[in-house]
């Protein structure tokens, strides 16, 4: 038996990383450019050995980009020459950057702990859902599990085939040709996919604590939704005066400026629905609710329209200063009380994130009234 020292070392390393993140999550998460080249840059001096370094920008040895030097590329056509020191991996060559996915995973761990939320089990990715309920096998199909073979139908099929092929009344069962299986009614089957549209207000006022709250909320939503669906299709939209779709990386590295046209955000989000069927559709919009003048009525209409088209529309009023809820947010708060597929969360601090999340999950699991109860599509949502 081999002792996996590498894995033990990695475990120790990750423990420290977690402790560091716990201390610094709030600062890290509000970096304007959270993700650069798929990595989250951190000032991880505690995760490096604290040897001395130069503080000034210095010249370094480099090679043209066509060469075989490696390391993070700086300016165009310039590759810093790395690996000049072999052997032990000491020295300034190990830079601590976190893969964005890993950062999210660690951040989720920290947040769950902070909010004292239980860890959820992960749904196996790739189309199958594990459930503790026994499925109701009240339909028939030509494909299925051998344990669910419908003997009666299969024998009948075999009989028909032998009569047809050989003119004899005999059973000669070939399961590949004759098999009939008990299966779940596909219409009652749990939907395996979610479409999540994240819409972020990037008007001038959304920065610092605002961004931190939004990102923490999104990470927790990912956590919950990834454990509900094996497939999560995610689209990202940012808006100020106009709205545009962004990649995940861009979404987490945005410059804030401009006014707030919430209507544009809703409209762009609805475009994401095109060509999407058999999905549970969620819209998450984060804003401080200060709509630009003249947009209020249009935003109302677009919001109503989004409510008709999405299964669940979650509106996060980002409010780290804990001021009163006014403007467009006040209107949404009112609507959310009436409409079953609308939620409103006043995101003041982590506690309110937990409240918002709880409400969201109640709506999702809510027993047939909200996400799954509407009669528009039978294949969607969770069964009672």
């Amino acid at each position: 038996m081999r002792i996996h020292r590498g894995r033990i070392a990695q475990h120790k390393h990750d423990e420290l990383l977690r402790a560091y993140l716990k201390q610094n999550l709030h600062e890290l998460i509000q970096q304007k450019e959270l993700v650069v080249d798929g990595k989250v840059k951190t000032q991880l001096s505690t995760l490096d050995l604290p040897t001395l370094r130069y503080g000034d920008d210095e010249a370094y040895l480099a090679q043209g980009a066509g060469g075989s030097g490696r390391g993070g590329g700086g300016d165009d056509g310039v590759q810093p020459v790395g690996g000049l020191l072999g052997g032990d991996h000491h020295g300034p060559e190990v830079r601590v950057e976190l893969d964005f996915d890993e950062f999210v995973r660690l951040a989720q761990e920290v947040l769950l702990e902070e909010l004292e939320l239980p860890a959820l089990q992960r749904v196996p990715r790739g189309g199958e859902v594990e459930t503790e309920d026994l499925p109701e096998l009240d339909d028939l199909d030509r494909m299925g599990l051998s344990a669910d073979l419908n003997l009666e139908e299969t024998l009948l099929a075999s009989l028909m085939r032998t009569v047809r092929e050989r003119g004899v009344l005999d059973y000669d069962v070939d399961v590949r040709q004759d098999g009939w299986y008990f299966v779940e009614d596909p219409r009652a089957a749990r939907n395996h996919r979610s479409l999540e549209v994240y819409v972020l207000d990037i008007s001038g006022s959304m920065r610092g604590d605002y961004l931190a709250l939004v990102r923490k909320t999104i990470f927790l939503l990912w956590y919950a939704l990834e454990r509900r669906y094996p497939t999560n299709l995610r689209r990202y939209v940012v808006f100020q005066d106009v709205a545009e779709e962004k990649t995940r990386e861009e979404f987490f590295s945005v410059e804030s400026s401009g006014g707030t046209h919430i209507s544009a955000g809703f409209e762009k989000a609805m475009e994401m629905l095109e060509g999407v069927s058999e999905y549970d559709t969620y819209l998450f919009l984060f804003t401080d609710g200060e709509t630009s003048s003249g947009d209020f009525e249009l935003a109302k209409r677009k919001y109503e329209e989004a409510l008709d088209r999405f299964d669940l529309v979650c509106y996060g009023h980002v409010n780290p200063g804990s001021r009163g809820v006014g403007g467009f947010s006040e209107y949404v708060q009112e609507v959310a009380r009436r409409r079953p597929n609308a939620t409103f969360a006043n995101l003041v601090d982590l506690d309110s994130v937990r409240e918002g999340l709880r409400e969201f999950l109640t709506r999702v699991d809510g027993g047939g009234k909200v996400a799954c109860g509407s009669t528009r599509r039978s294949s969607r949502g969770w069964r009672n």
Binding site: Q10, G55, L61, L84, G87, G91, V94
Partner: protein, 384 residues
Amino acid sequence: MREYEAVIARVEELARQLGLRWDPVVFRMSGAEEIAEVASMGLPNRFVHWYWGGAYKEIRLQQDKSLLSILELVLNSRPAYAFLRRSNTYLQNVLVIAHVYGHADFFANNHWFQKSNKNMLNEAERHARSFRTYEARYGREAVEALLDSCLTVAASVNAFERDPARRRKRLVYFLEEHAPLEPYEREVLQAIREEAEYFDLIQRTHITNEGWATFVEATLLRELLTAREWAEVCVHLCARPTPYTLGYALFGAIRRRRGFEGALAARRYYEDVRLIDETLTQDLVDRLDLFVYDPRDRSRNTQVDAVKEMLIEQKLYRGEPRVEVEDPDHPRDLVLVHVEEGRKLDPRRIALYLKAVHVLWKHPVRLRANGKLYTYDRRGLSTA
């Protein structure tokens, strides 16, 4: 391993004809995980530390993406242990075998390596064992803090330093001699210093060692392979990291000037500084597309003298600031001094560094740098 026996015998025969001599080599077929483990820790069976965990994770990630996959590992021990990767193709492993004989010859004949500790494999295991005993006796946290500090100050080793007066100005040797350490603490510091010296030698000869191994590999394979296979190998050779290609080019230049005998003599007496200083020419710098890049004004200096100076500085000081013990003959106070005028140290690291030194010195530690005098004592950092 059986399928490689014939090719190993053939490689050995060719290597002997070239005039190569080596200690016995033991090949070992291993998985990617084991290779990542040894590559990150530097030696198998070494003590487990969080610092290797980061490197291990990084290497595993690269292996998965197969960007830069480590094909081979060989240890400077007697016998020399070489790890072949199970997932390599047959041809890749033939390359590795030829490369390994280059290293084995270098280990046995290079002036500096001849004096190195060939038993470090077992020493490292012995160190790991005693660290585990100390953990049980003095607590895991205390030993980890001690290890962090020792690894930090161990960056000041120099395996080539023979002058006792200059040696005592290096922090790690000074502390070993004068710090008020418990016997077990002193033993840990000594162990870490020994391991650091082992790796320091490898770092200071990295370009020469890898260059020679690649040079031997290419020379042997040209004899061994068909034209078609050789063409494939050339692509591999060109795609290696800079120390390999640079070292290879330098040995190629020596052979052109002084024949294969000259190359053999160079591998006996040279380390990186001398190899670069005597062999690097403007022509090679141009061919390898090397330059000194200054990010402040985005300028490129392609002059051989500038490249040479930068490379030599890297090798002499490992890109780390030069800090010395100010007065090693009066060891009551520990005052460190940054001896490079006009360069600044990163102030964020100073407190962490001095804290690490303080763990060992146990009395106030001072550092003259950035035009200030930093003091670290039980109350923390203060500046004058």
